[in-house]
């Protein structure tokens, strides 16, 4: 579609302006993340000293200098994600953009004082300034009509209730099964550690939830746009003043809202594990984050294929195969390859056995783990239990005993998946517009 330079109403112009500034903010943070990474590489190559970097950019942080760099990159990327989401939200005139914008401003002010990250000050000023500007446009922000329509339909009657009941029933049954099998197994061997039962129960329930989400999330969104086309209601919507971002965001909100409900409904069930012990609150929170991020990412994958294809069936098939290929097949295949190579290279005495190679393998390993939510969850849990690490940590290289900064995979997983979701939302809006003519 050729760009239509239609004169916008003053209100629309203000919102479009705010969206433009948010996009610039996201770009700025992206560039800052990149620059920080470059500085880190320069520092690692001993061209500039690490300590100066930390003192200049993250002056309130007491930990090691390379961890400080990793934290800065991560914070910049989180800002990028939030600002991109806000950009789309403002364009879609979502009411939640206003509180989220202020939340981001406050969070950045907090970061500025807590860690002394200078960029946070810049982000806070940008967000607060846009927040003040949005006050005038508050009356034009609204709850998304598409979301209300979808949720009204979805939650009506016994269906929604029945789905939740069946979902919880299945999981309860599964949990009971795990418990019985495990208890029987232990009775035979004679010892049963309550903590172990708790952990197994917890893992089993989260695993089942993850599986259900992998099936449900794309199914909810794969029909979002194709369904409107198939029911021939799409033309009706297009002749209204509803914008494409509003339409896409509304569809996504309603699907994810329902999945969130399912996740929240399952939390009491997960908490049964607390009765046995062996599971910490941190694990519960981590599992919830991983499940939610997975749902968001898979939901956007579904809606993306829904926007590019004509039929719901095709969109579902493509979404599932893409998810299977990227989330499971690719990490497993690459993981095997990586393992082979690292074994080859890390043999003592091998010519290629060097700290650099080991670092590269370690980071590649982290990246592969972050692609798959199951691997992410298990690795994060192991780190938490064995090393009491929730976020950043230092890893000691076997080759020369020096340390490199690493991050628990759930963080890199969340950043990776949220960035993917943001990109897919943008692509979805674009392709929805393109197929309009």
């Amino acid at each position: 579609m050729t760009a239509i330079a239609e004169a916008l109403s003053p209100r629309d112009t203000h919102l479009a302006d705010a969206a433009r500034w948010l996009r610039r903010g996201a770009l700025l943070n992206g560039v800052i993340a990149l620059i920080t990474l470059l500085l880190g590489i320069l520092a690692a190559a001993r061209i500039i000293p690490f300590e100066t970097l930390r003192a200049g950019l993250l002056f309130n942080y007491a930990g090691s200098a390379d961890t400080a760099l990793a934290i800065m990159i991560l914070l910049a990327l989180i800002n990028v994600s939030f600002m991109l989401v806000l950009t789309v939200g403002v364009l879609a005139r979502e009411i939640w953009t206003f509180p989220v914008l202020w939340l981001l401003a406050v969070a950045n002010i907090g970061l500025l004082f807590a860690l002394g990250w200078l960029v946070a000050g810049l982000n806070a000023v940008l967000c607060a300034w846009l927040g003040v500007r949005l006050v005038r446009e508050l009356s034009s922000l609204r709850v998304n009509p598409v979301m209300i329509k979808e949720l009204r339909g979805r939650m009506r009657g016994v269906r929604a209730f029945a789905v939740i009941t069946v979902y919880l029933g299945l999981m309860s049954g599964f949990a009971a099964l795990i418990y019985l099998v495990y208890a029987a197994g232990n009775r035979a061997s004679g010892s049963a550690a309550a903590g172990e039962i708790g952990r197994v129960l917890f893992l089993g329930i989260v695993g089942i939830e993850l599986l259900l989400i992998i099936f449900i999330a794309p199914a909810f969104t794969a029909g979002a746009i194709t369904g409107e086309r198939e029911r021939q209601t799409y033309d009706l919507l297009r002749t209204t003043l509803l914008s494409t971002p509003s339409f896409v965001i509304g569809k996504l909100e309603s699907a994810l809202g329902y999945i969130l409900l399912l996740l929240l409904a399952a939390i009491p069930l997960q908490s049964i594990a607390f009765l046995f012990g062996g599971v910490t609150e941190a694990e519960l929170v981590l599992s919830f984050i991983i499940l939610t991020v997975t749902a968001v990412a898979l939901g956007t994958v579904g809606i993306y294929f829904s926007s590019t294809l004509a039929r719901t069936l095709n969109a579902s098939v493509r979404a599932y195969s893409a998810i299977l290929a990227v989330m499971f097949v690719a990490p497993v295949v690459l993981g095997v390859v990586l393992r082979l190579f690292s074994n080859l290279f890390s043999n003592q005495g091998s010519l290629l056995f060097s700290p650099v190679m080991e670092t590269v393998f370690k980071y590649a390993d982290l990246l592969l783990t972050s692609i798959n939510p199951i691997a992410t969850g298990l690795t994060s849990q192991q780190l938490l239990i064995n090393q009491n690490v929730l976020g950043f940590y230092q890893f000691t290289l076997a080759s020369n005993g020096s340390t490199i900064p690493l991050v628990a995979p759930w963080i890199s997983f969340a950043v990776l998946y949220l960035a993917l979701s943001a990109a897919l939302i943008v692509f979805t809006i674009r392709s929805t517009r393109e197929t309009e003519l």
Partner: protein, 319 residues
Amino acid sequence: MSELIIQTKNLVKKFGKFTAVNGLSLEVPAGSIYGFVGPNGAGKTTTMRMLTTLTRPTTGEAWVNGHSVLEEPRAVRKSIGYMPDEFGVYDDMRVWEYLDFFAACYDIPEAERKRLIDDLLQLVDLTHRRDDMVDKLSRGMKQRLSLARTLAHDPSVLILDEPASGLDPRARVEIRELLVELAKMGKTIFFSTHILADVSEICTHIGIVEAGQMIAQGSMDDMRAQLQPHREITVTLLTQEAVEAVKTLMSGFEGVANVAELEPKGGRFRVRIDYTGGDEGVAAISQKLHSANVAILGFTEETKDLEAMFMRVTKGIVS
């Protein structure tokens, strides 16, 4: 002529090698009920989709309410209410929710929507079905609901694609009455149809399209005059003597082109007078026959029906 609310100039739409609309120029005056008539496949729906900004014309231009379809699609969308030929059903939706959703899509604030929905339902006579599911409505009711939806944002033009297709006779009459009522409220109604009875019943203007081209358009009166050189008055008489009397009385009357005796029907004698004058003349003829004490049973002006007119201008080409 009053100001034009829809205007197109040499509108062309090609789908690959197939030309759906071929240089169509349309002129719809404000406040009219415009019947857009043509055989299936003549390009009616494509034209409407271009007017509603759903499809971009290959070449040519179109304006709705003074806004260019190409350059100001949002302004155009604000001015039009569009009803496609198929009714898009959302399952799991109540009647009032259906209207509420579309009103929200037209940026109508929530505080105003309840009143608006009540008014719209009353207008289309669906107040008693307010809380029913949309897919439980009859086809006629769905069509009326659809019409209510097009009115949610108070547009000045309604573009309706086959509003009466597939309806039973009663529902069709109801829709027709509704359209007349809306025209009285000052809306311009532009609708496509292939049912000529609908057109002759309610339209003020008509455009006949064939193979993507406009072959005749204008007000109904102009079109009739244009396609029909004279009016035909049929006088039904009691006796053969009366027939002769009418013949002699009319032979010298100004504007009478021909007087012909028709086959008697049901024992009644009939004479056809071909007349080229205006309404005053028709009254004068009636006056003259009465004053001559001719035994008249009936005096009617045959409006030559639209089908004959349609058959005369179209060639039966379906692109």
